[in-house]
Amino acid sequence: MNAPDFYEMFTLPEGVKKVAVQLDPKQPNTAIFEVQKEDHTLGNILTKRLLKDKRVLFSGYQVPHPLEHKILIRVQTTDEVSPIEAVRDSISALLVELSNIRSKFEFDLARAKAEQEAMGTTEGAGPGAEHRHIYPKDSGADPTLDVNVDVDF
């Protein structure tokens, strides 16, 4: 009845800015970014990426309230750069890193699939089909590749 609409979690209402900046009047080169409709997923990677920038003195984030779908990111920089530029640079770097991860993953996936084909195993045929591993047990193949992780996670 009074439950919040589900889309409030990830839809930006009309007229609301995705990111708003407030400069900290008490501290030089410090800004607090209010990012709407984001959570730990973005807050954590962004603050951690900012810390890798040597011009950044402080970066941290908080989720002010679990029912308000926004995060606050606080960034303090040296006078070489403004906090806004630092965030922009970090997020650009993140984008490049992510596309790197994607291409590296796709490259290794192709390798794994080729190896799987070479060993004559195919992917599961249909629903309920038994999982077939790229590196089947007791295959006699390269033992360094044969890591049947039958360990409980």
Partner: protein
Amino acid sequence: MPYDRDHVVLEPEQVTNVSSHEYPHHFPNEDPSGFGLEGFKKKLNIKVWRVSRDTMEFDLVGVDASLANAVRRILIAEVPTMAIRYVYVLNNTGIIQDEVLAHRLGLIPILAEPEMFNFKTADESPTDLNTIVFQMQVKCTRRPNDTVAADETDPDKLYVNSSVYSNALTWDPKGDQATRFADNPIRPVIDDILIAKLRPGQEINCELHCEKGIGADHAKWSPVATASYRLLPHIDIKQEITGDLADKFQKCFPPGVVEVVTEHGVKKAKVANHRKDTVSREVLRHKEFEGMVELKRVRDHFLFNIESTGIIPPPTLFVRAIRVLMNKCAVVKQAVEAIAPKDEDMQE
């Protein structure tokens, strides 16, 4: 003891050295350029160990925990799928109440490519581009008396449709859906998911509407059964473990982790495969191994395990998760760039 920057250390009562210090100015005389893209590329390594129709295992090496965790969170909650959102019950005389039935139906994974559909916004009405319709009409009846034994008690043999499975859902193509999905008709991923049980005379008749959604809204839209990672275990033998102690040492670990080799007639414990260790810390309970071994985990080596519900193959899931994350970054980047010029004035 020198500071170990690559490992998390597992002690009997606590885990230490947990946080990463891979930031500029944390270690003397370190080149800060290593934190840029080149440094990232050098460290990054991905190895796919095993792929099947609905599971995948791979190593993600050289990234910060925040990134691995973001990918995991997105896999669970933000990669979209199609799931039954509305159940219009026309008739339900079975023992399963309408709302429970609707909940059970919602959780059935629907094999439909989510990218072929749009999200339905609150003010939109259903169209063939945002909704999939299923019909479910089942009625339980008695089998004729001459076909069953007089003392038969098995409901499956006594009645027709005593159990309703997910194959009772029949897709009702709307608009051009029948041609768009001709080569891969929309259906439940698995045919034998038990939905309800009926007895003679009872029936269920309903229309089901599937919509696109994400796991953050409801778990029925989550494309994964599990998506998890653990850190690569590392067993550091500080001091040679020989003789009968080696056998005891081996028994402290799951099979295949430690092997006992004989060198010059002396038995010696050696680590054969760190990866198989469950890090039970059993070895730390025995006084005789004190100071001889240290249990660690490699801080930036993530062993990822993705188990799909069967809608999207796991490799595609990972790529989509990365894409969702990149979209998030792109949106925020755009928003930050839009305010950048104003910043100059505010600096005054």
